[in-house]
Each structure stands twice: as C-alpha cells, then as structure tokens.
Symmetry: none
Subunit: 415 residues, 2 copies
C-alpha cells in the first residue's frame, strides 16, 4: 500500500517550527507494511492544500494529514479534503452538542468559531479526539483513504495509537516489517562495529548502529510475509548481540533509561531519591516521566546553591572543602538523598553549572555517585559543554548505571 | 520570488532521521525576501525525483534541493536535475583532477564511483564544497533556478552561508518579510480569534494564531520593500493585540517562559526558588535551561513524598490536614521555598501525581502559589490529565504568572 504524508501549516514554512509529525508517522509505517512515498509540507492556503490532496489521490492509496483541524479561519484541512473528494461539508448536531459539553465542563461557553469542527462530508467519519476539541476525519471512497489528524503531537499520537493504527492493521495485508532496538551504554560505536562485524551489510535482516544521547543503539530490521517469520529472522542477530554485548545492554525498543530503572525498582519493591546540581532537574524530571514514579521515587533536590545542598544533608565541611562541583559532593549528595528520604538508592550528580567553569573544573565535567545498600559507586565523565548535553548525558548515565547496579545485585544474590 | 525545497533521501521516509535541512533553509528565506511555498521529501528514486522537480519548475522560480549528491548509485539528484532541464551530463576533467588530489591528500586512491561527482550539464555550474567531496550545482535557465546542496548539515550550512545566500541577495530584489510573535496565556484560541476577528484573513500584514504548550501565539507577518516599512505595517496590529489581550501577554518572538522570567529577575537582581510535586522537576529543569540560571535560581525541591516536603519546611500540620495535593500545600511550599533559601520569590506547584487521582482531586488538578515580598498569590487550574500536559502547563503557567507579578510590581512601584 502506497502512502504519503501532508503536514499542514504556514508556521512550518516559516522555519520557526520543524515538522516532527511527518517523521513520527513515517516511523510507524514500516511495521504496518505501508510504504511511504512522499512527505509534503504545505501552508494554510486552500488552493494549495487542495492541489496537494488531488495529486496525492492520483498517486497514493493512503494519505495522512496533520494540522489544520482547529477552529480558526486558518484551519483549512477539512475544506480541502471536501474539495478533493468533491463533497460538501454539513454540520452534525450531535457533535455540536459534544463540543458544547466540552466547553461547559471547563466553565466556558463554546466560541462560535468552534462550529467548524462539527462539520462532516458524506465520505468522512469522525475520529474521536479525547485530548482536544478537534476530532480527526477518516475519509474513504473508491479505494482512496485520507486520514486527517490534529497537529499537536499530544493529540495526534494517542489518536494514531488508539484509533488509526488498529484500523490500518485490519486493512493492510502487505509485507510486514519488524524492528528490534537494543540499547547499550559504555562501549564505543567503533568497538561495537568490530565485534558485530559480520552482521553489518546484510539487506534482510538489516543491522544498523546509531549513536544517541543515551548510548549506542543497535537496530535489527526484518521484512517477511508475517510478523512471526520476521521475528524469527531477528532472533539469531539479537542473540549474537546479547552474547557479545550483554553487560552493556540497558534496554530494548522504545524503553528509556527512566523506564528501565522504574521497572527494575518496581519489580523489587525498591525506592530511590536524587540530588543534582549541573543537570538542573533533568534527572528528577526524567524519573517522573513514568506514571508509576510516585511508587518508587521519594523525591529530588535541585541544589543550585550550597545552602540548598546543606539544608538537605550535605555536610558543610564537604561544601567548604571541596565545593559543590566535586566528587566528594556527588558522593555526599547521593548518601544524603538516600538517608534523608529512607530510600534504597540515592543518586547524586555534581558538576559545573556555570558556563565559565567552576572550582577548577571546566564546564562539561560531571561527577556521578550512586549510594545503595552495598555502599557508594562513583564515576566521573567529561562531555561537550553544551547545557542539554550535560543534562541528558549526566542524567542518562546515572540512570543506566543504577539499572546495571540493581541487575548485578540481583544476579549475585540469586547466585 | 516563489520558492520550494526538496529534501532527498529514502532514510528521511523511514522515520529514522528527521529532515532538519528543510526547516533550516525555510528559516533563512524570509529575510531574503523569498517566499517559500512547498517543502517535499522524496526518496532515492529517479522517476519520483524528476517528477518532483518538473512540477517544481512549473510552479516556482527557485528550487532548493539537499541530499542525493554523493558518489553512490543511490545519489540521483544530478540525474534528476539533468532530466528536468532536458540536458545531458558531461564529465569535467578539471574536477576529476581536483577529486583525485582530494583523495591523494588523504592517502587514498579515488574510488571509481566518485567520477559521478565530476559531471555537469550545460546550464549548471559547480558550487565548491570545501567540507566534502560532493560539490553543489547551481542550475539556471529561462528564469528557473535549481540550487542543489549536499545533505549533511556540516556541508550544507557553510555552502549556504558563504556561497548560496550571497548570490541570492544579488538576484532577489523582492520584498522583505518581518515576523513578530506575541505569546499569550489564559485566553482560549477561539476567544482570541473572536476578539481579533477583523485582523484575520488579510494577506499582508498576515495574522496567524497557533496553539502551543506555553499558550496561544499570535504571529504577525508583513512583507514590504524594506524592513522599516514592514515593521510599520506590523505596528498597528501589534498595538491592537496589546490593547485587547494585554494582561494575557507574557512574551515576544522566540522568548520562552523561563527566559522571560530570567530576564525579569536578572534585571532587578532578584532570586527565586521552587518546590513542586505533580510537575516532577519539569519546573526546575525549565528554569535551568537558561545559562544564567545559576545567578538567580537558588534551588528546587521535587517533593514526591510528604517526608521530602516536610524536610524542606512545609509544616507537618498542612500535610496531615490537607495532603500534598492541595491549595494549602502549594502555598506552604511556595513560602517554604522562598524562606528557606532566602529567595525573593518562591513558586509552589502542588497537584495530583498519581494517574488515579489523589486526595479527592482528579488527575489534572493543579494548584500554583507564588510567594513574594507582597504575600502569596494562588491559582488553581485543571488540565487534560496527560503527564506531559500537566508538567508543561503547570510549569509554564507558574513561570508566566511570576513574570506578570514582577512586571506589575515594577509598574506600581514606579507609579
């Protein structure tokens, strides 16, 4: 099945916003057996959007659109789909009612403009949007399908996952692509390249290697008639990775470092706490991305002043003698976080918060300590002195190290 | 002058790589007076690339392409440009020599494939590429121009800045585009649409409205012969926005809520501290995005357990009587953050951390308090119960409210 994507919005042509919806949808299609042929970005102009849709109907079976479903005069996707199908939009009273209830629930009257979102053409049906006022449209006639979704990723992603993807799975019966992603930390890209040498360069299953903020990812991609067949092609490659890189693996597929740690803690009924300086809250914010975090995360401190660190149990002597940007501070922070909050593990991340360096250390110097039942594990690293790099690499390294620590403890206690 | 962009490469359609070249070039065009109409991503397929270029030649004066200039069989941009212009590529001996020298300098023989990069059609000339083996092509005939650049940003950006942009400046004597972005929070998109009704639908100056995580943005775009003229067209629209939405405006152009607050604090030599529950560190992490944060941010607490809140100055009575997910807790957290760290302002964000609701409140309920020299300001809000929405909206609202508080204090003290 041949598909194309249209991302709609003048703001995408002004260069102020990068279109991430296109590549997000693109990444979902291979596993569904859908072949993406084109991605087009078009502004909020009815003639141009209609031109794009009409061309799409001539060369593709399946078209995905994002954006242009809002209530304002700039939102023209519905009108353009109607034009491409040669049909006239008609207002749907039951949807007007639903919208009125939505606004009522927020203590407001429905603005008159929102009536736009209650229109439909005969070949279209609504795709419910529990996360906003703009429902999607699934428009289908004579073997051509246009799936129109809202632009905000927070509305588009759940609509895709809960409604669009399941429906596509029923329709598409082409070849299936299955991907398996293995995430490692601690071994260089070139070293992995050498160790896994004979698996690279094959077409199917294909093995790719990608350097990311949370380490090196290995991606196995297999195409076959069925999902089971594709998985059995992946299996030997995955087994080889596990055999040769086992101790460096910290996660699979979409797993994030914080999910990986969360799973490990939840499984054992353990808890953690944090204290951080140069990562500025990135660590705590990552941990609380998991909806179950309140079960294992006891709390975090972002110590941007020595006073804040001392208020939370870092000895004044450590701060005075070594400063906050020091190995000793990281260790004291990890222990203080653990002890003060009765947590099983405490993470301390200390480093240089000022872009000019601090305490004799250059920006980009990070000290990590993990306090646990068996004592304090310390490590130091140096990363390029960009703020987001310091935050990401410091936080991800601390979490994957904690994950490995919990796993190794498990092994030794079960041995 | 009407332009379009083609990003070429099958990897862009696999969703593993997001096309950033398109939006990068898009951002360069308004100041050059070039109007971008379309962005198209197309795979490494000669027929499809040629189809795209031929359509582009029919509707645009100026086409930019990135990618597909490498030495492999997959690199088809040159061939497609030749096809679109109906001309035949011929090898250029002096370029073969230059390529041979390039490889010699690296102690290698030139791979046979690289001869592709030494071909040219009569209407094209090379754009030198000091950062790689692939020269660009500037192809021009009968008022149509295709500018072909390599895909790697490290090669494309300097080629653009040093060679393409200067040449475009000589050619284009069209209008200049100036953009002004006004950021609001607290009024709905549709309500703003109503209030600003008569300004929408105009072509120049154009007014666009965009719903973002930090509120509703209004964007004014004006095209004129000079920058000054464009700014004077923007001025009355901006004045109308300020008059009608003044109290909801928290920032302009690229400003983020944290930058806006940071500027306000730095300008007055003031400091702040935070304590948060349901935003889980997002607030502290946002504040520390600014490289100067260490000058005004005294620290933050992510209180994921009552113990953590009490350790940091929230009275046990408040926690016992009202729980952490309460107005009273938010106020106590704001005051404790302010007092314990001797900060001028303390922000407290309390709310429901568990997805199942807490303390009689549903997920999505947020209480914000700001403690300052004039007492504690409190507000409550309810947002869709998605984790990232709770974090973003809670954090952005707290920051924009603090920004407005500092501004109003300024006014009253200077009055």
């Amino acid at each position: 099945m041949k598909a194309e994507i249209f991302s709609i919005g003048t703001e995408l042509l002004m260069g102020e916003l990068t279109d991430t919806n296109g590549s997000w949808i693109a990444a979902q299609l291979p596993a569904l057996g859908i072949q993406l042929q084109w991605v087009t970005i078009v502004g909020d102009n009815l003639d141009m959007i209609s031109e794009a849709f009409t061309r799409g109907m001539a060369r593709s079976d399946l078209m995905f659109t994002t954006g242009g479903l809002g209530p304002t005069q700039d939102d023209l996707t519905r009108e353009a789909v109607a034009k491409a199908f040669g049909e006239t939009p008609v207002v749907q009273p039951e949807v007007v009612e639903r919208l009125e209830r939505y606004f009522e629930g927020r203590g407001m009257a429905m603005p008159a403009h929102n009536i736009k979102q209650a229109h439909l053409i005969p070949s279209a049906e609504f795709i419910p949007n529990p996360n906003g006022t703009a429902p999607g449209w699934w428009t289908e006639r004579d073997g051509k399908i246009i799936v129109s979704m809202p632009g905000p990723p927070g509305e588009m992603h759940p609509m895709w996952e809960n409604q669009v993807a399941p429906r596509l799975r029923e329709i598409v019966d082409d070849e299936v692509t299955v991907t398996r992603n293995v995430k490692t930390l601690g071994m260089s890209e070139a070293a992995i390249d050498e160790v896994m040498d004979e698996y690279f360069g094959q077409e199917n299953p294909y093995l790719g290697i990608y350097s990311k903020a949370d380490g090196i990812h290995l991606r196995i991609i297999a195409r076959a008639a069925s999902e089971g067949e594709a998985r059995s092609m992946i299996q030997p490659v995955e087994a080889a990775i596990e055999e040769r890189l086992g101790e460096y693996i910290w996660g699979y597929d979409d797993e994030t470092p914080e999910q990986s740690v969360g799973q490990a803690l939840l499984g054992k009924g353990l808890t953690m706490a944090t204290m951080e300086t140069c990562t500025g809250g990135f660590l705590a914010n990552s941990i609380t991305e998991s909806p179950q975090a309140f079960r294992y995360f006891r709390g975090g401190v972002v110590a941007f002043s020595p006073q804040q660190a001392m208020e939370n149990g870092v000895p004044a002597g450590v701060v005075e003698q070594h400063g906050l940007a020091s190995e000793k501070a990281a260790a004291a922070m990890a222990s203080a976080a653990r002890e003060r909050l009765d947590a099983d593990y405490g993470i301390g991340i200390a480093g240089v918060s000022s872009p000019d360096g601090e305490n004799g250390h250059p920006a980009g110097q990070i000290f990590i300590a993990i306090a646990g039942p068996d004592g304090v594990k310390e490590l130091a690293m140096r990363v390029p002195p960009r703020r987001i790099t310091i935050k990401r690499r410091g936080s991800n390294t601390a979490l994957t190290e904690l994950r490995k620590l919990i796993a190794s403890r498990e092994e030794s206690s079960s041995a």
